[in-house]
Symmetry: C2
Subunit: 164 residues, 2 copies
């Protein structure tokens, strides 16, 4: 009788564990599903010296004579950032994923999070990039009708780590 | 002795169930977390007659004198679509979620999926919207420097359901 009782108990524990595992399987998101939820491709690693750290660019739309806006998805790895620069016709940034920084010369740094949308006014020196502990993905919409981006000096570690 | 054994077994089953529940809690995505993963807010329902079906608009960036692009996130419920229309300075569409349609006058209908980016050339009559069985979320980048959108006739059910 005791043996039968013990077998029944072991069976019950086994059934609970099995049902628990099945439940977890349906609820869990696998790494591949999580990657598939990325909106745009990461693109190619940027190799020019207009950026600090690791930055990726996927060109989505090229400017042409009919519509002089270009659109690109930029992925900054943690700590990655642009140099200071200006856009002669301005730029619009849409924050897609992660946590990023945006700063205009003489202004406090702004934190950008998924869903934020901001304007970089024409001719205003600014920089943007990832925060130290999170990557940052942005869509950049850049008017080319008044000329190309003007690149300035790098953002120093002191500037990057300052809160203003 | 049997009573102590039974209590121990009940305790063990309880512990397994509790640990199972805790595990599920960390793995499960609640409906509110799932909604939070939407990139932009759905915005307000569009009440003008430039659209068929149910359409929502979240304005992200307003055009101004320095940057004449406006940016908005448009959510079309299944079957929802714009009228035929033209943009004097053109438009860029980024497909954010769901499955949508885009068609220029005299051209086959294109299917738009998450991550697609297309240009609507200036002055070309076209329409866009959701497919019949899936909502469609798009970011629309519209140049306002040559005037506002010109609205034309509605997209008939026959046009909407045709494959060309």
């Amino acid at each position: 009788m005791t043996i039968i009782k013990n077998i029944t108990v072991l069976f019950l524990i086994g059934a609970v564990l099995l049902s628990c595992n099945e439940h977890n399987k349906s609820a869990r998101i696998s790494p591949s599903e999580s990657q598939a939820s990325t909106l745009f491709a990461k693109g190619k690693q940027v190799t020019n010296d207009n950026f600090t750290g690791t930055v990726w660019l996927e060109n989505l739309i090229q400017a042409d004579s009919l519509n002089q806006n270009s659109v690109g998805s930029v992925t900054f790895e943690p700590g990655g950032r642009s140099k200071w620069h200006t856009h002669p016709a301005g730029q619009i940034l849409l924050a897609i994923d992660g946590i990023g920084y945006y700063q205009e010369k003489g202004q406090p740094k702004k934190i950008l999070r998924k869903g934020d949308a901001i304007k970089c006014p024409p001719g205003i020196p600014h920089w943007h990039g990832a925060s130290p502990d999170s990557k940052f993905v942005q869509v950049a919409i850049t008017g080319r009708e008044k000329g190309e981006t003007v690149w300035l000096e790098p953002v120093t570690d002191k500037q990057y780590n300052s809160y203003k």
